[in-house]
Amino acid sequence: MPELTSTAEVKKGQERLALALQASRMGMWEWDVVTGRLIWSDELKQIFGLKPNEIITYQKYQDMIYPDDRDAMQAVVDQAMVKGTQYQVEHRIVWPDGSVHWLMGQGKAYFEHGKPVRMLGTSMNIDERKAAEARTEALAQERTELVALNSAKDEFISLASHQLRTPATAVKQYLGMLLEGYAGDLPREQHMLLKLAYDSNERQITIVNDLLKVAHVDAGQVIIKKEKTDLVKLVNGVVHDQAAVFEARNQHIVLNHKPMDVYADVDSDKIRMVLENIIDNASKYTPVGRQITITISAHKHTVTVKVEDQGVGIAKKDIAKLFQKFSRINNELSAEVGGSGLGLYWTKKIVDLHGGNISVESRVHKGSTFIVELPRE
């Protein structure tokens, strides 16, 4: 330690120290273990909520430590007096006004002839840091709860859908038996009423299936198994399977494709469902007697399937909502179509999982074009 030569220099040193402590908002104390004399800096008194002229005793100091923290504090100090190591401890104190504050205390004991004679230490208020920590912890806790809640929701939807599907399937089989003549011929009116019930049940099954599909994709459980697939063949298959629907609505399907076959590396089952959904929508939202044009083309890195209808179209403001969960857009056919508002949400998720893109161009009352773009490999 450099020797201080004059009282003026000592005073300067003390001033510098006081300034540093003030700047760091740190309070300082010194405890003469032998005489029991305790000296506190003004900053320390401020940190403890005391007036500058307040007299401090060790007992008074101990009484101000938050009751739950007293034993731990005492243990730390006791150990410092035995081992001579510097301690650092976070603890709470109670101000005279009853408010509780967090402090970070540091201290060290000094020894003469192997006995502790003096302790020096500092304290600073860490209320802000503690509050921030508590906020972070609360946020983390909240997040954990939300994640759990979300997965409970997915599980619930999945479970409820499974449970709903079984009775709906039974209704389908029994109504189906009646409608398809397994219990003899039905008078026309009865057949008509049963058909309404059957169709309504079909809608219910579709919604339940959509809910399950969405719960599945939201839970990240969908696995994409890519294989070389001829999209022309695939689209032809979809159109063939839905022929009865187009016929019933007197809609004309035009299929254009440049090369004879257009291959892409996709999960054929999933992409088939994607295109089924888009083509089915095109038919449902297009008035009777109009045309739906499907164009398949190959590009350098991608293939596109364009489904163009002459339907009701989608307003600009609604296009953004199109691929959101549970969003249904009102138009003159939406009530008739029904639907769960989940089909396009699922469709987009599946296209995304392929690294592809789905987009829409539309004009109200003119029609919509859905464009699915998929990587070739």
Partner: protein, 126 residues
């Protein structure tokens, strides 16, 4: 007369399938889970099994494993009733010898009969 074993835990559904297929001229037996189905396999030696996948006790997958279809019943066809959330299991089921998978609730009675005839190589009824 072709023999069909319907393995379905839901009684109402099982009875519906049995009733439809019986009316179509098949000899149909029901089983409420995979364990019961395993007991009946050797006695019946079905031409076709309609197999639900999600069942209590022994499910469809375990049934196929334990029946060891390729070895013990090489001539028996299997139509598995899948559901959308059992994708991984479905692959296994096809590997274990199922011939066709049908999404549950997707077929009307007549359509189901058509599938059955198709898988059995019979002329589809028009």
């Amino acid at each position: 007369m072709k023999k069909i074993l319907v393995v379905e835990d839901e009684q109402l559904l099982r009875e519906a399938y049995i009733s439809i297929l019986t009316k179509e001229g098949f000899q149909v037996t029901g089983a409420e889970n995979g364990a019961v189905a395993l007991d009946k396999m050797h006695q019946i030696k079905p031409d076709l099994i309609l197999l639900d996948i999600l069942m209590p006790k022994v499910d469809g997958l375990e049934f196929l494993q334990r029946a060891n279809m390729a070895k013990n019943f090489p001539k028996t066809k299997v139509i598995a009733f899948s559901n959308l959330s059992s994708q991984v299991k479905l692959e296994q089921i096809l590997e274990l010898g199922a011939h066709r998978q049908i999404l549950k609730a997707s077929l009307s009675p007549k359509q189901l009969v058509q599938e059955v005839r198709l898988v059995l190589g019979m002329d589809a009824e028009t």
